[in-house]
């Protein structure tokens, strides 16, 4: 600007002040800046647990499903003595060998059986005097789906002490249970997301109201709506990042502890422990929270200012 003929009122040219991070709206000093990170930390924590729970339940169901696909078990009741039991098992093996639908049979030894029952019975599961049924693991031939027709009936007819189990009775219930867990966890993740968005909308609208005069001034000086939105967006992202990292650390600690507990549970819930995929999904939560926060703040500001116009 030309200012010919107007001497400076100041004897010296001033030193330019050191630049600082400047925000036209003092959003960082709002009350929301104090509680929002904690709220987001809590929501990210909940979302983290729910997400890992959903992934774990999915893995569990898949494991149960695929692990028992094409498998049957024949349960042979113990006889009065070992010889009688052995005779019954022999008859069962002969019966199964005659079926073309079956490719392989394997009698579970006493030790394997004891191992399966140990979580419930403890060391006594290995007690040889315990009258346990003999289990025969049956693998169906390739291409055979489900129990061959009439196989169970014929087995029970020929060997009344034997019973065919296709696992579907309890497997179906278990898979339903795992799927329910998965749905609940997914619902929790969605609810947490919705709660985050609603909270941010409320906080942003409050900020717009608190700083109405400054925003009006910025508009009078030629600020576009997206300039104002950018200030809210940046602030929301910063708070979400801070909260998201705290939530991530908290969820990580809890999951680490859970992993230790599950591992010490002697395989009661094999496959439920967090995997690298789970940890990666968990690490994605803070950036996701930042993105959700920034976009919600932006859209709320742009929508509100457009309505005010």
């Amino acid at each position: 600007m030309a200012r010919r003929g107007f001497p400076s009122l100041s004897a010296r040219r001033p030193a330019v002040p050191k630049r600082r991070r400047r925000r036209d709206l003092p959003l960082a000093s709002d009350a929301s800046a104090r509680y929002l990170p904690w709220l987001i930390a809590f929501l990210v924590f909940l979302a983290g647990l729910a997400l890992v729970g959903a992934l774990g339940a999915n893995r569990l169901a898949a494991r149960w499903d695929s692990g028992l696909a094409g498998k049957l078990t024949v349960q042979v009741m113990p006889g009065q003595n070992a010889a009688e039991t052995e005779a019954r098992v022999g008859l069962v093996l002969e019966f199964l060998a005659a079926s073309e639908s079956i490719s392989q049979v394997e009698v579970l030894d006493r030790r394997t059986l004891g191992g399966l029952l140990e979580p419930w019975l403890g060391a006594s599961a290995y007690d040889a005097t315990l009258p346990l049924p003999v289990l025969v693991d049956v693998t169906l031939a390739r291409g055979v789906e489900g129990v061959p027709e009439g196989l169970a009936e014929r087995l029970e007819q020929e060997i009344p002490a034997a019973r065919l189990d296709d696992h579907q009775r309890y497997l179906g219930a278990l898979i339903d249970f795992a799927r329910s867990l998965q749905l609940i966890a997914a619902a929790v993740v969605l609810l947490v997301g919705a709660a985050t968005i609603l909270t941010l909308i409320f906080v942003t609208r409050t900020g717009l109201s608190v700083h109405r005069q400054t925003i009006e001034l910025l508009h009078l000086m030629g600020a576009r709506d997206r300039y104002v939105a950018g200030q809210f967006q940046h602030n929301a992202a910063r708070l979400a990042l801070r909260g998201g990292l705290v939530g991530l650390v908290a969820a990580g600690l809890v999951l680490y502890a859970l992993e230790r507990v599950v591992e010490s549970g002697a395989g009661l819930l094999p496959g439920f422990s967090p995997t690298p995929v789970d940890w990666i999904a968990l690490l994605l939560l803070p950036p996701l929270a930042v993105a959700v926060a920034a976009l919600t703040a932006r859209w709320t500001v742009l929508g509100t200012l457009a309505r005010l116009a």
Binding site: M1, R22, M221
Partner: protein, 229 residues
């Protein structure tokens, strides 16, 4: 530059504070806006800085009908204006330097250009020692000078000043008027609202006199005293 045809303004359901205002301000002109307190000077300026829409009539700014402007267009148009508010309206948490730099940030200027323009201008208005001061620590007169520096730093095409010398002594008032004069000479259209008839009398510019909500144009008096020319 500015054209009003039978423009009226009312707030809500209240009476018209401006009624049948018709005038045309040529580009590069300088007008004083005078009238007693409550005559509608601030309302008139609010119309010009797009802070209010006319309730009747047509307002043209920079050759465009403001009624047809989009929100985006209004923002762009406002960047071509500098406004000195009667109540200064400085942003409390920003320093004097940052307040003055704000319009430059809004137009996308960066770093060094902002530093030199802002520090030079603040120095010129006598605030070289207050660059880092927050508005609350400045006197009324100092705040007013910051507000004026903020209004002119972007070299606006239209400068609107509402009582810009109300809180400063005569010496500073004259300096600030010289600044407006200089901008006028460089092509800026200037409208200065004031009730200071003594100050107005020192400059040979036409007056827009508001009385009872209506506007009358008083031609320039052919003299320029007090070293204003």
């Amino acid at each position: 530059m500015v054209r009003l045809d039978d423009v009226a303004l009312r707030y809500g359901e209240g009476p018209e504070v401006l009624s049948g205002v018709t005038c045309h301000l040529e580009p590069g002109s300088f007008h004083f806006l005078v009238g007693h307190s409550g005559a509608g000077k601030s309302s008139f300026l609010r119309l010009l800085n797009l802070g209010q829409r006319p309730t009747r009539g047509r307002l043209m700014l920079f050759g465009r009908d403001v009624a047809r402007l989009s929100r985006e267009d209004r923002a762009v148009m406002r960047r071509r204006m500098g406004v000195v508010f009667q109540d200064f309206r400085l942003i409390a948490h920003l320093t004097a330097f940052e307040n003055v730099a704000l319009p430059l940030h809004l137009t996308g200027e960066r770093g060094g250009a902002i530093d030199s323009k802002v520090s030079e201008l603040l120095s010129w208005v006598g605030l070289a020692d207050c660059l880092d001061s927050l508005p609350a620590t400045l006197s009324g007169g100092q705040q007013q000078r910051v507000a004026i520096a903020r209004a002119v730093v972007g070299r606006p095409s239209l400068l609107l000043a509402d009582e810009p010398t109300g809180n400063v002594d005569d010496r500073i008032a004259m300096r600030l008027m010289f600044l407006f004069e200089e901008m006028h000479r460089n092509g800026t259209t200037v409208v200065v609202a004031t009730h200071n008839e003594t100050l107005v009398g020192r400059f040979a510019h036409p007056r827009l006199r508001l009385e009872g909500g209506t506007l009358r144009i008083v031609p320039a008096v052919a003299r320029a005293a007090g070293g204003a020319a």
